[in-house]
């Protein structure tokens, strides 16, 4: 009998596991995939290391900072700042036709860029910042307010509004067209007021630290252990049944599988509370270069681009949305030593149904075709690096399903979040993307928060 079984060895599940194992619980983390990480994973292909998910960690505050999610996370997991070996970004930008706004981990740069490009919005932008500073992320009563409405009241230039939504939606909005004001504030702080960073070794370094800590505390981890269903008796989960038929009992279950995905596992016959699954998914192209991107004049860490005045955040009708995207170069962080290869990754919105509907032959061809189209679209905004490419890879919404198990390859899960993590069953809780926090730091905080709130106090 386990004290807690955790479904999913992603950031949130492992973080929750560390908390519970630290306080002497008997904990088991079950992972369906053959590797850990979930959305934020990694793989090796033709001798090169690749990251899935992670472009950069958000919420990066300098060593010694006492406030903010990163400091809180390190304390809660008993991990030291140095263990994560985070290097800050070089600098990023948001590019729309005729306007480029640069930002780095010091808000003053972004503020001065906004003043230069939108002189009439300068005071309004300061007002926006002070409202965001005042937003209390532990008070969820503002979750329902529309960020579009709130921004419309503060900023009077629609282009600036679109330019703010573009990066924040790309980095974490499960909702189409709009965000909750709370989510907007949290993400604005995490990206523009705290900042971006990355460990030299990428996401595997973070995952390895989490697993080492978890195992060191006696936590158990099973890979290739998909949960077939949750055994429910009298309104309580009594255990899980694995896909291989194995039955395990637990006093409670914490699931990071997603809300609709977890509800479907319950075998109590209770109707699944209807909740729209997310529809927003991505394609991502990855190019390895024989030079560092900066040699080609590309110094930006992350470039968010959009080719018209209006930014559209919805499931595209086409296989990929070529109008907007995110260009990330993992090389452009302030590391002590350079990475082995140059790398440029481009993320664009994609249509899950299209990609799922392809047979294997067409899937391979379409990947090549859309790799080219996405790259062609992106080099309108950064130096053309195509002659320096030595290897490529690409993931699609179906790849995201393989790593995360999320319906529709929904990167950020369902639009409606379950902030308190509770379900219709007393001892079944959810954490991770569908609880409400996104990004690596957000997911880890979700695991910690739900473990603290629901699994530690009895």
């Amino acid at each position: 009998m386990y004290d807690t079984i955790i479904i999913g060895a992603g950031m949130s599940g492992l973080a929750a596991g560390i908390r519970l194992a630290y306080f002497d619980q008997r904990v088991l983390v079950l992972e369906r995939h053959f590797t850990i990480g979930g959305l934020n994973s990694f793989y090796r292909l033709r001798g090169r290391d690749y990251d899935v998910g992670l472009h950069a960690l958000t919420n990066i505050t300098p060593k010694g900072t006492k406030k903010g999610p990163l400091a809180r996370l390190l304390r809660q997991l008993r991990i030291s700042w140095d263990d994560l070996q985070i290097s800050p970004q070089v600098g990023s930008d948001i590019v729309f036709p005729g306007t480029r706004l640069r930002f780095d981990n010091d808000l003053d740069l972004f503020r001065s860029e906004v003043s230069r490009e939108f002189p009439k919005q300068s005071d309004n932008f300061d007002r926006l910042i002070s409202e965001i500073v005042e937003y209390d992320d532990l008070d969820d009563s503002h979750q329902e307010i529309s960020a579009r409405q709130r921004l419309g009241e503060i900023l009077t230039d629609p282009k600036l509004v679109e330019m703010l939504f573009c990066p924040l939606m790309f980095y974490g909005s499960a909702r189409e067209h709009d965000m909750d004001w709370g989510q907007f504030s949290i993400m604005f702080r995490s990206i523009f007021m705290e900042g971006l960073g990355r460990p030299h070794a990428g996401v595997r370094l973070i995952l390895k630290q989490l697993v080492r800590q978890y195992r060191g505390l006696g936590g158990e981890l099973k890979l290739r252990a998909g949960v077939e269903r949750l055994a429910v008796e009298d309104g309580k989960v009594v255990g899980v049944v694995l896909e291989n038929g194995e039955e395990l009992t637990a006093r409670r279950v914490l699931s990071s599988a997603g809300w609709p995905e977890t509800m479907r596992m319950c075998d109590d016959g209770a109707p699944v509370v209807s909740r729209q699954p997310g529809r927003l998914s991505f394609c991502e192209t990855i190019a390895s270069l024989d030079v560092e991107p900066k040699t080609l004049g590309h110094r930006s860490t992350i470039t968010f681009y959009n080719d018209s005045e209006e930014f559209t955040w919805t499931k595209p009708d086409t296989p990929c949305d070529l109008r907007s995207g995110v260009i990330c170069s993992p090389n452009n962080f302030q590391y002590g030593k350079p990475l082995d290869d140059g790398t440029i990754r481009i993320t664009a919105l994609a249509n899950f149904d299209y990609w799922r509907g392809l047979d294997e032959h067409d899937y391979r061809l379409e990947k090549l075709r859309w790799y080219d189209r996405i790259t062609e679209s992106a080099v309108r905004f950064v130096p053309d690096y195509r002659s320096r490419v030595i290897d490529t890879d690409m993931f699609t919404p179906t790849t995201i399903v393989r790593f995360t198990g999320h319906d529709n390859g929904a990167v950020y899960g369902t639009p409606e979040k379950q902030i308190d993590g509770r379900t219709h069953l007393d001892n079944l809780f959810i954490c991770g993307t569908d609880q409400g926090f996104v990004g690596i730091v957000g997911s880890i905080m979700s695991g910690i928060g739900m473990a603290n709130m629901h699994c530690l106090r009895d």
């Binding site: 306080f23 010694g64 406030k67 928060g449």
Partner: protein, 86 residues
């Protein structure tokens, strides 16, 4: 444990929770929250560490007793008087 031993134990717990904190000139009469910026998650950890180390259960309603070093030691004294120092 005596009051002084309890104080040492709390210091040790704070060291584990906030390893980057300089605890040498902590003011026993000032709230932890104000001098160390501890948040509610950190207070939960003090409680959980006490439970892990000494099997002491502190109900949630009493968490506020752990505001400062003085109030914590005073609150824990009767609960820990029969616990031998490790």
């Amino acid at each position: 444990m005596t009051a002084a031993e309890i104080r040492d134990e709390i210091l040790n717990i704070l060291e584990v929770i906030a390893p980057d904190e300089d605890l040498s000139n902590i003011d026993d009469s000032v709230n932890f929250r104000d001098q160390m910026e501890l948040d509610s998650m950190d207070f939960l950890d003090i409680v959980m560490e006490l439970r892990k180390r000494h099997r002491i259960q502190i109900p949630e309603d009493d968490y506020m007793e752990l505001a400062s070093m003085n109030s914590t030691v005073k609150f824990l004294e009767p609960l820990m008087k029969d616990i031998a120092k490790a």
